[in-house]
Amino acid sequence: MKNKKIIKTFFISILVAIILIFIFSKNPIYSIRLFFIAPFTKFRYFANIIENMIPLIFTGVGMCFILSCGEFNLASEGCFHIGGFTAACISVLTTNICIHNTVVAVIVSGIIASIIIIIPAVIKMKSGGSELVSSIMLNFIILHLTNYLLMKYIRDPMTGYGSYELNLELKTLISNTRIHSGLIIASIVIIFAYILLYKTKFGLEIRIIGNNKKYAEISGVNISFVLLTSQWIGGFLAGMGGAIELLSPIYIRYSWTNLLGFGWDAIIIAILAKNNPLKVPIYAFMLAYIRTGSYIMERLSDVSSDIALIFQAIIIIVFISDIFMKKNKGVKSC
């Protein structure tokens, strides 16, 4: 995949989005301007992009670990969700508001999420069942389970579907925006992930397994250990991302009764970044920009934000087909 290809894909997606806006909007030029240009016109909007980017970095880096080892475990959406839910529970239950409790909430959320993501991996290892199917199913199990637990235990009767007010909160970095200290944690995670994946023996083992399992086996790599650990890290990061998103100044109560899609977007990000954590922020920014643009458009014009989903779907279709084409090509001889 060359950069040319990425630019071409985006060009096609933008074109389709514009055509759709022209079909559905009464004032298409205005809507298009809101979608593509508005995010850069006001500092508040630009801050929204950064806010949206933070959770995408966590899930995207996590997805890099999962896809690097060649498994298509898509449970990171569920991991993100349960990470947020766990953090909400801890946040509602604690009365002692201090930084320690916030850290504990984030780590516990990560651990619970990483236990969840191991389920499809173990099913694959023990019985050969496709991790793709079981992980997607798992996401919906988690969604309904957390909804049930929300209703039963932490719902505030004063609200419709919201929990009690959250006690813990991450600090805001820039005043007048909701950009929070999660950005710093995300930066550390990117660097840590890059070193682990590209500069250590463990990272080399992950990538060898992902590309050539047979060679890994011959070289004596402990395949099941490496597979489980790398997926475990992926789940942990997604769960952490969920917790950090929930504890950010954006939310006052926990009210996630639907999947937020940060885990799905992570797949696009990891594929575009070719599993390189250093490239994750670039594509996370791009997807956050599309998300933000579509929200602004939905608020101020007559077009729904679903355009953004179509936009992303086209990117996925083009890139996934490219990957499959590559896999089917034979070995070149010189």
Binding site: I195, K199, T200, K201, L204, E205, R207, I208, N211, N212, K214, Y215, I218, S219, G220, V221, G330, V331, K332, S333, C334
Partner: protein
């Protein structure tokens, strides 16, 4: 003269000049062998002739007409690749007519006509095959014949083979060469790329030698003997490294009743598919039992030994002793100096440490693999067909490295189909037959060839 190529020039996107003004002529009904080292540009030239690639400058004349359109080449010239493009579950007739089947009533396949058509085709070209046979039941030589029939059905005048015999055994080779002769007697021209001089001497009428993108020489096979040709091709044909006699040999493992000693090269030889896969598995088992360190050079380098998505540098890191690059994080400096050392030591031709491994030629890929495995100090080196598909020079280089390893008092196990190589370098040869060791001979010499050949065949 049926085909004439004039000053063909081809430069690839990555800057490699594969063909540098090559001239090449083929007469009708001749068997023309194309010789040259790995990466000399033989395959590129053939792909240009077959219309699979286009050249940057130069022109091709076919049947005294200058070719303007690649499709004309495609229709008249058939190229048969090393890896056959056949569907194993289909029978011969279906494979030949794929996408082109005769139909009745617009959409129902007319089976009767299909087999009639193919039987007639096979008969007119003297190809001895049964059109009802499934591909998966055929030998490699027969599969190659199906490919030939596929090309002939298109009505080609020239057939090109890219190293057709690379994985054939002796009988399959003989059968294919007989087919070559029959086809050339019918007026078809055959061009084939090979590394094996013996084959060329057997069947080629004319030989062209290609060296680094240009044609070095063209001559009739009968005008030169095998030594003169190999002189022309490689310059040198002897091992550089001398065997040293190791005094303190000790037995490392035992395969069945064959003791494998340190400081010795033990060669296992046998016709293809005679159970060396099982022997390899047994060696691995024994090694893990005794906790021995093993360096393994697999037969299929791309699928078992290298990661083609990764760079040369990453492929050079041996997982078994990666701790020397740092306990937790790889040290950039140590990695760099190790990389430079290996590149010089093994004469690997690359553009940089970050180059992808699958951009290299087969010989360089194999050198990377061997550098990685032999840089690891182990008790046993197990090399399976280490010179498959490589030219004589690279192959000698690899054998030299194995001899060096034996001189360092390591046990070397070599599995190869090449009797001459085996006799030249090994201390012990054992012949495999039906998954078992049939015959062991120590300190073999040229006089033992007949005996070894006899033991390779089931009575």
């Amino acid at each position: 003269m049926i085909l004439e190529c004039r000053e063909i020039y081809k430069k690839f996107d990555n800057g490699v000049i594969a063909n540098d003004n090559i001239n090449f002529i083929v007469d009708s009904g001749e068997i023309h062998a194309l010789l040259g080292e790995n990466g000399a540009g033989k395959t590129t030239l053939m792909k240009i002739i077959a219309g699979e690639l286009s050249c940057d400058s130069g022109f091709i004349v076919l049947n005294e007409k200058k070719i303007e359109n690649k499709l004309d080449l495609f229709a008249n010239i058939g190229m048969i690749h090393q890896h056959f493009e056949l569907i194993n579950e289909f029978d011969i007739a279906e494979n030949i007519l794929l996408g082109n089947m005769p139909v009745k009533k617009g959409f129902i396949v007319d089976k009767i006509r299909m087999y009639e058509l193919i039987d007639r085709l096979l008969k007119t070209h003297d190809i001895h095959l049964n059109s009802h046979d499934k591909i998966s039941d055929l030998s490699l030589a027969d599969r190659c014949k199906v490919e030939i029939a596929k090309a002939l059905y298109k009505g080609v005048q020239i057939l090109i083979f890219d190293e057709p015999t690379a994985s054939f055994n002796e009988n399959e080779k003989k059968e294919l060469f007989k087919q070559f002769k029959r086809l050339s007697n019918k007026g078809l021209s055959i061009i084939f790329i090979t590394h094996k001089l013996e084959e060329v001497m057997q069947i080629a009428d004319k030989i062209t030698i290609i060296e680094s993108g240009t044609n070095k020489a063209t001559f009739m096979t009968a005008s030169k003997n095998i030594d003169e040709i190999s002189q022309l091709l490689f310059g040198k044909i002897n091992f550089d490294v001398q065997r040293e006699i190791i005094e303190e040999k000790k037995e490392i493992i035992k395969i069945d009743n064959l003791p494998v000693n340190s400081g010795e090269i033990t060669t296992l030889i046998g016709l293809d598919k005679n159970g060396y896969g099982e022997i390899i598995a047994r060696i691995f088992e024994k090694c893990s039992e005794k906790k021995l360190k093993i360096s393994y050079i697999p037969e299929n380098r791309l699928s078992d030994g290298l990661v083609k998505e990764m760079s040369v540098e990453e492929n050079l890191v041996n997982l078994k002793n990666s701790s020397k690059f740092g306990k937790w994080i790889f040290n950039k400096r140590i990695l760099k100096s190790y990389f430079n050392e290996q590149v010089i030591l093994y004469d690997i031709k690359i553009k940089g440490s970050k180059q992808k491994i699958d951009e290299l030629s087969g010989g360089n890929m194999q050198k990377v693999l061997i550098a990685r495995e032999l840089s690891y100090v182990s008790d046993i080196v197990l090399a399976v067909y280490p010179d498959r598909g490589l030219d004589k020079k690279t192959s000698l280089f690899i054998m030299d490295k194995l001899i060096e390893k034996a001189n360092e008092n390591t046990a070397v196990i070599l599995i190869t189909p090449n009797i001459d190589d085996a006799i030249n370098i090994s201390d012990k040869i054992c012949v495999l037959l039906d998954h078992k060791i049939n015959y062991i001979i120590e300190n073999p010499s040229k006089n033992d060839i007949a005996k070894i050949k006899e033991k390779m065949i089931r009575k």
